[in-house]
Symmetry: C2
Subunit: 360 residues, 2 copies
């Protein structure tokens, strides 16, 4: 691995510290190198706060490092526009860095390459495309969100070897191993939201929070077209306004008020042929800055999203057990054909199957 790749890898490590908090902004880490040694580091900690480049530069300045002639490494092209903070590329030019190494350009095509051009014009040596694929992978949520306006959608399921996610009494507890459940909690701390159907709330009464490890709770989204769920379920007990019930525009105002009183956000969405228009649902969730969603069940919700072609990725935990009769997770043969990137991981006694679409 060469020097550029080494420092970009360090940027990735730093960037990941912002996972869960930086969204819908990208995960960005930055390393400043002077005379062949790391002089300062920074990352984007939280949406609305300073960018990684600014944090690294401030850290260097606090240490008394002269930035003139220094090198700056960053996994995403510095911003060239005034957002919540002034443009990082101006800051880099102002401090007279001699070299900037960038893993990937800004995927938002109106910005892409603009600050690279600006910095080159100012006489800075700019290297781009170092570990580019890895950088895109790291920011897969952000790339999807900024290029399509829709959140990145992952289906997570835990099934037995005979394809069942619950027995015929809808009981689904403890299909997967301790390790697999721990992985799910780690994922909840990273995805902006988890989403379930009303039946999953009814039969499992899940908390949908992050347990047994540090990490912020995701938004909890429940699809409940007819507002059939009583407000007594666990998901309605949070006081953080991060439980969202997606329902029909025609939902009864009394039921809506009862949920709102408990601090639940009610989001009316379009219905067509008695079903949610799922793209409208995703658009409305994107509008409140939800850039990534993990769908946790049940089978009906999985298959509706798959049929609507709105799924980016599947994570299927398969336990080496047989359920016999019960609820089958996946039924749509065609919808699976598009997931041609296949990876397997061991997860305790389970296997984790990861299916993704081909990236051109």
């Amino acid at each position: 691995m060469d020097t550029n790749e080494n420092y970009i890898n360090r940027c990735f490590e730093l960037a990941l510290k912002g996972a869960g908090a930086a969204s819908p902004n990208p995960l960005v880490g930055c390393v400043i190198v002077k005379n062949g040694k790391v002089a300062a580091e920074g990352y984007h900690k939280k949406y609305g706060e300073a960018h990684a480049e600014r944090n690294a530069i401030n850290s260097a300045l606090r240490k008394g490092v002269t930035l003139k002639g220094a090198e700056l490494y960053v996994n995403l092209e510095p911003c060239a526009h005034f957002g919540k903070t002034p443009p990082c590329c101006d800051l880099i030019i102002e401090h007279k860095f001699s070299k900037v190494v960038i893993a990937m350009k800004d995927p938002y095509h109106e910005v892409m390459g603009r600050s690279v051009k600006k910095m080159r014009k100012a006489g800075i040596e700019v290297v781009t495309g170092v570990l580019e694929q890895e950088a895109i992978e790291l920011n897969k949520f952000f790339v999807k969100f900024v290029t399509t306006g829709l959140p990145y959608v992952t289906i997570k399921a835990a099934q037995t070897i005979d394809g069942k996610i619950a027995d015929d009494k809808y009981r689904s507890k403890w299909i997967s191993s301790t390790e697999s459940r721990r992985t799910v909690h780690k994922l909840r701390a990273v995805y902006d939201a988890v989403l379930v159907g009303a039946n999953t709330v009814r039969y499992d009464n899940p908390k949908l929070n992050v347990r047994d490890l540090r990490g912020r709770d995701p938004y909890r989204i429940i699809l409940d077209k007819d507002l059939l769920l009583k407000p007594a379920y666990n998901v309605f007990k949070y006081k953080d306004s991060r439980t969202i019930v997606v329902t029909s525009i025609d939902a009864g105002i009394k039921k809506v008020r009862a949920l709102q009183k408990k601090g639940v956000v009610v989001l009316p969405c379009k219905i067509k042929d008695g079903k949610f228009e799922l793209k409208d649902v995703l658009n409305k969730l994107a509008a409140i800055n939800i850039a990534s969603i993990m769908i946790e069940g049940g089978a009906y919700v999985y298959n509706e999203f798959l049929e609507a072609n709105l799924v980016d990725e599947l994570l299927i935990f398969i336990a080496p057990d047989v359920m016999g009769s019960g609820i089958t997770a996946f039924a749509n043969k065609q919808a699976f054909k598009q997931f041609t990137r296949i990876n397997y991981y061991s997860s305790g006694r389970d296997i984790l199957v990861n299916l993704r679409k081909h990236v051109p």
Copy 2:
């Protein structure tokens, strides 16, 4: 790894050359070391022919090696009894070896340890238990056969992620990847027999032979209680008397004769409550020296063997596809609980799940 383990590992390599041909005898390899160097090697090539020790000794003698004071390494305790060949332990004593290293003792309890004692009495230093677990694993077919009188039984299935082995028209072709099918052919060259139900013959018309690689064909066993299969299927076209139709004692003599005329072996077995007594079937197959069987389908046969608790191992290829409606491979929840040793392997785009019983 110490010297003993090094040579025993070489014995394993040599032993495996006999896979498929040595059965129902064990796989045995032998290394003779003189003055710290390998002087000769041998393995048990074929049932009824010379044992590994004799082959190695003969090879050494042909090279003019003086065996007095040499060391002999072998993965299974040398025989102490007159079988198809005179006892190897006498041969070792006769040639005045100074040291014998053995991976595992003979699992047949009437023999176990007898030749170790005899060689020690003759003044030979005997080391046992070197890589013993690996040696037992290598000879799992033989160990099962010789300790229980029953063949080692493995279920092989290829299913989709929703647990289906065929669509609702019983079509099952090409569920698994090229790599997985190649693995199945490798296994067929090693198992003494493959076994399928009559419906698998009817719907798939399989050849059940070894293709696209070197290796001998296994016995082809078909369970056909009522002799409903017409003699026109592929499995009945071989002229090698290695296709066995297991049927009821009450099967019509005319149908039996029609099959026998084609060189098919007809094996009448006990029926109870309209089903085969599978233990009787296995006993009768063991009596004709079938020490290992791979069951290749269909679902009914899988579940009957599992319920009868006659399965030692499962190999389940899972393709990352969804079948939708179709035939489910496994339905019995209880029968799976005993398989607590779980391993996963990637196999092309499939995952291979290996389930085995706990070995105490």
